[in-house]
């Protein structure tokens, strides 16, 4: 297992990882990954997977605007305009979008084949050619707004948490900071003082066979950000351990989204 401890200019001590901690970590990682595998492998024949990079398209409608993409001559539906509490965050014109999705059942919304589940990442660099806004057209409306996620609290005996990131991003959106808040709450409830933060650098296997690897420093950025937050929320420096895996994760085009992550363990 590749455990590196180095986080740029952050002043962090190098910790001796006790064997027990490493074992706990390994166990928890393998459980996590295999759980995803088990779930996705059975549900996702590869022919239904659509991973690609393209310009997003927005279509106005009588109700809410909907977000589409075109790939290999087919139009796909990603989701609709929502609010900051919504689970789906739409793409942005002027930027390409990385789509990692699965064809739901062949049904269409707003004229596009529905991808669900779908994860989108807005590519940071500008692409001014991404500029298509289509007018409303009768019959092409998205479904009614999907209710907000319930955000039920995690069980108090939870010890392992996973935060997934957008491609090349260390940004913690509302949904992700909520998980961070839960980590801190549960640590307090149980008097747990130690935290291990393990961050990763992802790779996505596109449907055209190409591989997209996240930028080199992304795992460090994710670790640095989480370190600051957990320290700010009361974990003592000497009780925060970082494990930064800078080698990119292997990609299979199926569970790549799940590997762009931070894993957090409290004990």
């Amino acid at each position: 297992m590749n455990l590196e401890i180095s986080i740029g200019d952050l002043q962090v001590r190098i910790f001796k990882l006790r064997l027990t901690n490493i074992l706990v970590l390994m166990l928890f990682n393998s459980l996590f990954i295999s759980a995803i595998f088990a779930q996705q492998k059975t549900r996702n024949p590869k022919s239904e997977i659509r991973n690609f990079l393209t310009c997003p398209i927005i279509r106005d409608s009588k109700t809410f605007p909907c977000w589409l993409v075109e790939y290999n001559g087919e139009t796909y539906y990603l989701g609709q305009q929502g609010r900051s509490g919504s689970l789906f965050y739409p793409p942005q014109l002027k930027h390409q979008v990385l789509v990692e999705g699965r064809i739901k059942d062949g049904s269409r919304l707003c004229g596009g084949i529905v991808l669900e589940p779908v994860t989108i990442s807005v590519m940071p660099e500008l692409d001014l050619s991404c500029n298509t806004l289509l007018p409303a057209q009768d019959g092409l409306e998205p479904p009614p707004p999907i209710p907000y996620p319930e955000n039920a609290p995690f069980a108090d005996d939870t010890r392992n948490f996973t935060i997934l990131f957008d491609f090349d991003s260390d940004f913690l959106s509302l949904h992700k900071t909520r998980i961070v808040g839960e980590v801190v709450r549960i640590a307090k409830v149980n008097g747990l003082k130690n935290i291990v933060i393990k961050t990763f650098r992802g790779t996505t296997l596109l449907s055209n066979g190409q591989k997209l690897i996240e930028k080199e420093e992304i795992a460090e950025l994710r670790a640095g950000k989480l370190y600051d937050i957990f320290e700010g929320l009361g974990f003592a420096k000497e009780h925060i351990k970082l494990a930064i895996k800078t080698n990119p994760e292997k990609a299979d085009g199926i569970i790549d989204v799940g590997k762009r992550r931070a894993e957090i363990l409290i004990f």
């Binding site: 927005i58 106005d60 809410f64 605007p65 977000w67 305009q81 929502g82 609010r83 900051s84 919504s86 965050y89 739409p90 793409p91 942005q92 014109l93 002027k94 930027h95 807005v122 940071p124 660099e125 500008l126 806004l133 940004f171 913690l172 959106s173 509302l174 992700k176 900071t177 961070v180 808040g181 420093e217 950000k225 600051d228 937050i229 700010g232 929320l233």
Partner: protein, 514 residues
């Protein structure tokens, strides 16, 4: 223009009668000294618990929870520094606790430019210009802008080391200050020019969001003294996180103070700021805007009674509540004339336009880049979402484009001359670029980025409260909208909204009664 000055003293109980007579005497002397109600530093007198000042669209009312304020010896009103200025110099009650260009021009004429508000340090385009010349103060006189000098490259923010993600060059600077070897970039300073912001209703402005800053995805700042999360909506770049820090900086900067403010003085200043509530109270015909508490979004008393930090970009209980009584003439007081009634109907429509008229909000960093998508079909209230003030409840910095090319308000034909300095910001290769302007950005004020050092923040300006707009033209951080009409026109252009003339008038009327 009418310059009358009205005082409302309510609930005058007999036991306080004598007290009020004394206050009135104090007041009268103040009024006669300053018939235009400009408050000079160190003049003493009483600022009544309830007081009102006229402006072109009616009257602006104040309520001070602490009762009458004796301005004599009060640190907000005394010239505590070395240049004769007090806080009140630039935060004038008659100008909604900001200062209007109209007042500034009048002061210039009345004092032949000798009023301390024109002090070289920041009341002129460049302290090294001949100060007796009007042209040396053109940015202040024409646009109401004071010079704000900030360290660049920025080194720390809230105790944390900052490594800026971009470099700044001066493209052009008619003031000369940014290319001056001492005052300019070469010597580690950048000067931007900004409007003063209203110092009232501060409990709303300072009300904190929860633990996380939704704009950055990191922890919100906490007050080192209390450990509590602070609001991050003060100043155009949110560079001060507590009112104390802010007051001290104003003392050393604007007032050129050489000692410090004592704890007692700081407490007095903060108390004054936090207990003073302000909103337009009368229309231009002299009619009271609020009767029996309605409309609930108007007037200083409702401002005082309102709850802080309520997210209100919804159709249940909107930003400025409802204007139901103003929707048709039958429900308005019979005493109003026809013009007044038409006006109120227009305001009610304006409120609906503000709340519900949708358009494509696009390319605005920290709105479109924040999970809402670009573009997003929503209304003014999406960004201006806090009840009673229309500030953002989250840390309110957004790149609306008022200071960044190609949409800056300077003039919409971008290659024309600007009387403001123009900077070129170039983002480092490994930094995340500005989401809608890329890696090379032209701006007259990088805004929040001067504090955070982040490329993504270039041009992001913290929106300010909508209160007292009628008393404090011009608008936007750089004073680029001379009237509310120009402000609405900017939005119409910026987002290609295609408002009708009637819609524009309704919006303007609505903004004018806040």
């Amino acid at each position: 223009m009418q310059r009358s000055f009205r005082i409302f003293i309510k609930n005058m109980k007999i036991k306080t009668f004598v007290l009020h007579v004394i206050f009135l005497v104090g007041l009268l002397s103040w009024v006669s000294d300053n018939e235009n109600s400009w408050i000079q530093p160190g003049k003493g007198g009483i600022l009544p618990a309830e007081v009102a000042f006229s402006n072109p669209n009616g009257t602006l009312g104040y309520v001070n929870v602490d009762g009458d304020i004796n301005m004599e010896g009060h640190p907000f009103f005394e010239p505590l520094g070395t240049n004769g200025r007090a806080c009140v110099s630039c935060h004038q009650p008659k100008d909604a606790m900001s200062v209007s260009t109209q007042s500034l021009q009048q002061r210039w004429n009345e004092t032949q430019g000798q009023d301390p508000i024109f002090a070289a340090i920041d009341g002129s385009n460049n302290p090294k210009l001949p100060q007796q010349l009007e042209s040396s103060h053109s940015l202040l006189l024409k646009r109401g802008l004071f010079r704000i000098s900030l360290p660049w490259p920025v080194k720390t923010d809230n105790g944390k080391t900052i490594k800026p993600e971009f470099s700044i060059e001066v493209v052009s600077d008619p003031t000369g200050v940014n290319v001056d070897p001492e005052l300019g970039l070469e010597n580690g300073n950048i000067s931007v020019f900004r409007r003063p912001r209203s110092v009232a209703n501060m409990t709303y402005v300072m009300s904190p969001d929860p633990v996380f800053n939704i704009k950055t995805g990191t922890l919100a700042v906490t007050d080192p003294e209390t450990g509590k999360v602070v609001g991050m909506n003060m100043m155009a770049d949110s560079r001060h996180y507590t009112q104390k820090q802010q007051a001290l900086d104003a003392y050393f900067g604007h007032l050129q103070g050489h000692n410090t403010l004592t704890d007692v003085q700081l407490k007095q200043i903060l108390d004054f700021q936090n207990k003073l509530f302000m909103a337009q109270s009368h229309d231009k015909w002299g009619g009271k805007l609020v009767e029996n508490g309605e409309p609930a979004g108007l007037g200083p008393h409702n401002m005082k009674a309102g709850k802080v930090h309520i997210l209100a970009n919804n159709n249940r209980d909107p930003i400025f509540h409802w204007f139901n009584n103003w929707k048709n003439k039958e429900t308005m007081p019979q005493s109003l004339n026809a013009e007044q009634k038409d006006f109120r109907e227009s305001v009610a429509r304006g409120n609906d336009i503000f709340m519900f008229r949708e358009f494509w909000i696009r390319d605005a960093t920290h709105i479109n880049s924040l999970g809402l998508g670009n573009p997003v079909r929503r209304s003014c209230a999406t960004c201006h979402n806090g009840q009673m003030t229309a500030q953002d409840l989250a840390p309110g910095w957004v790149d609306l484009g008022t200071t960044t090319y190609p949409t800056w308000t300077e003039n919409h034909l971008a290659n024309q001359k600007s009387d403001l300095p123009i900077f070129k910001c170039t983002c480092n290769k490994n930094a995340a670029p500005h989401p809608f302007l890329g890696r090379v950005i032209y701006t007259t004020d990088p805004g929040r980025a001067l504090i955070s050092g982040k490329c993504i923040d270039i041009g992001s300006i913290v929106m300010q409260q909508f209160r007292g707009l009628s008393a404090r033209a011009p608008y936007f951080v750089n004073g680029s909208a001379k009237t509310l009409h120009e402000l609405v026109d900017y939005y119409d252009r910026r987002f290609d909204i295609k408002y009708t003339e009637q819609e524009k008038t309704d919006l303007v009327n609505f903004l004018s009664v806040l």
